[in-house]
Amino acid sequence: MELTKTVAKRLLQLVIVLLFVTMFTFLLIRLLPGDPTTTIIPFGTDAQRAALRNDLGLNKPIYEQYADYLTNLLQGDLGKQYNSGRPVIDLVSQSLPVSLQLMIYAQFIALLFAIPLGIFTAYRAGTRSDKAINTSAFALLALPNFVLALFLSYFVGAQLKWLPTGGYAPGWMDQFFDSSRSPDLIEHARYLLLPAITLAVGQIAVYMRLLRSDMIATLQENFITMAKAKGLSNQRILWRHALRPSSLTLLTVAGLNVGTLIGGAVVIEVIYGIPGMGLKIYQAVFSKEYVELQSYVVVIAVLFVLVNFFVDFLYTVLDPRIRRARAS
């Protein structure tokens, strides 16, 4: 069947890409200068350092190190932190759900604003309110998100003291990664609200525009005039008839962004002190924790590729029905 062929082809692509990604990150990390042993035993002798390097396998030739890493990876072993000896997989299970939840909330908030705005500007396309909203969104894009983060944490956090400016409490997802972390949803929300809003603001403008252009196209379609001819109210037509066919691209992108922006929230996590993957990566770079860093990057890259693959696949499955419906 044609579908299975496509799926098989995609899976193969997936594996190849993952292979290259692991190879690439491995090499990239090796480029980092410095010697991790200086961080672990800062006052050790050269001999001690040499011995430690041997133990850590840092003296083996590169391809051997890569092969070792790969074999371990396939067995689910993400290595150990040089410094503490803790298995990286623990660190990942600690920080990944944090970043994921942050991303999900950010997308959710962004959609919450972008959808009504997108509908409104499409409905009133070309009018002054449309132009005004678009201009504001455009201006908002010029604001760096770390600036927004700084100011939000200043005003809301320090001045008004409504929300904390650093820290974390487990939410609904953490327990699946580590059963000992029981949810404290209210605190969780309080810690993540500002960072999520900061991340969302950057997305709102893009999402709004995306929906707007799809909606404008949909509103030209015959079935909208038909709905109008039935005597339905504009509200109903917009939300019930126009929105659904127009929202596919938007939802796909929002979904994609959950997986793909994880690495990109580093600055936000650093400013707000959220212990997610971003923060961990940042720390690992400076402690020259090669293996830990590598594993983080691999996890993120794998997530990225998987999310892309999954959404592609979903499209291929959903598409025929939608395309047949839309075909004239």
Binding site: L28, T135, L140, A142, F146, S213, A217, L248, D312, R323
Partner: protein
């Protein structure tokens, strides 16, 4: 009547990752400047609400204001670097002024129109010099990225087939590594490579790091544009005349790709400015006392509660500069954009 953009959802099954196309459409809709975590996963491609699009000859008020602002900033930056009209010394500390904002009425803040930073250094010359640094890094990185990424993208789009697949594959692999990490790793590597003496200045390191990170992003966009043009009839006509591929690429496709690329370049400079800021907050980049807009924010973010003016002033400058660049990028694109209708 509102214009009819294409929805981009009509394609063959299995002819390409349709979700990725949706993803790229997101980038298509707006210059994703600065809104996204400092260094962007989603690259900026096209910016602009319809309100800035002008049919007809005149440039709107916005465009002229943007040009004015950019001219102003560049002028200030150059003058500060050369050393003329420095409005004070960027490195001289005035203890009496430390951490005082422009509105502080306690003695010492007088004469410092924009206040001072936490080390008591006058903000005005620092911001001016910072403009130079930030712009240098941004323009340098974008140029670097365009020279390499642009060329690769041009070749990929034009050649198609195996070359294209390999190059695109390379771009995709590079892009699966989060941008921040790439940049951090590169900076760390280059810092190590340049040794204790600092054979490479921090600015140079940043230029290379941000530039390399930009390569796959710019490459992808150039490829798309190059692909569109390469499929046009005049290229076929050229081939039919027996022209060599390389000649066609340079003579026919490149001049058409350039205007769109120019618009992207403007947007990219804005992104690079923000990237410099993000990296500064992460602790890498231009080292003090050399000021850059980014590191001024990074250095004094701890003082945000008591002396917000420092961060505020630098942020404002970044905001207006990026906004102007976005606007200009949009105007350029609107000017040169030939409506393909469906591509």
């Amino acid at each position: 009547m509102p214009e009819l953009p294409d929805t981009g959802l009509d394609d063959e099954i299995g002819s390409g990752p349709t979700a990725t196309e949706a993803f790229e459409r997101e980038q298509h809709e707006f210059g994703g400047v600065a809104g996204d975590s400092g260094l962007l996963q989603v690259g900026a491609i096209e910016a602009g609400p319809a309100s800035t699009r002008r049919r007809g000859a005149g440039l709107g008020f916005g465009a002229w204001a943007a040009i004015g602002w950019m001219g102003f900033i560049v002028l200030i930056a150059v003058l500060a670097k050369i050393g003329i009209l420095t409005w004070g010394d960027a490195n001289e500390s005035f203890a009496s002024c430390a951490r005082k904002g422009p509105l502080a009425d306690e003695g010492g803040a007088k004469g410092f129109l924009l206040g001072c930073d936490s080390n008591g250094r006058d903000m005005i010359p620092r911001l001016a010099l910072g403009a130079w640094t930030s712009l240098l890094v941004a323009v340098g990185a974008v140029t670097f990225g365009f020279i390499i990424g642009g060329t690769l993208g041009l070749i990929a789009g034009f050649s198609g087939g195996k070359t294209d697949t390999i190059l695109t594959g390379m771009f995709n692999v590079l892009l699966s590594v989060p941008v921040i990490i790439m940049a951090l790793a590169l900076v760390a590597f280059l810092q190590g490579a340049s040794g204790e003496e600092g054979a490479l200045s921090p600015e140079m390191i940043l230029i290379i790091a941000i530039g390399v990170v930009a390569i796959p992003l710019i490459g992808r966009i150039t490829r798309a544009s190059s692909l569109t043009w390469a499929q046009r009839e005049f290229v076929l006509a050229s081939r039919a005349q027996g022209a060599k591929s390389r000649r066609i690429m340079i003579r026919e496709v490149l001049p058409n790709v350039l205007p769109a690329m120019f618009s992207i370049a403007l947007l990219a400079i804005g992104i690079a400015i923000v990237a410099e800021g993000a990296l500064a907050i992460l602790g890498v980049g231009v080292r003090p006392p050399t000021p850059s807009w980014g590191n001024m924010i990074a250095l004094d973010r701890g003082n945000l509660f008591k002396s917000p003016h420092i961060v505020f002033e630098a942020s404002l400058l970044i905001f207006f500069t990026v906004l102007s660049l976005n606007l200009l990028g949009d105007v350029v694109r609107a000017r040169f954009d030939v409506r393909e209708g469906g591509l």
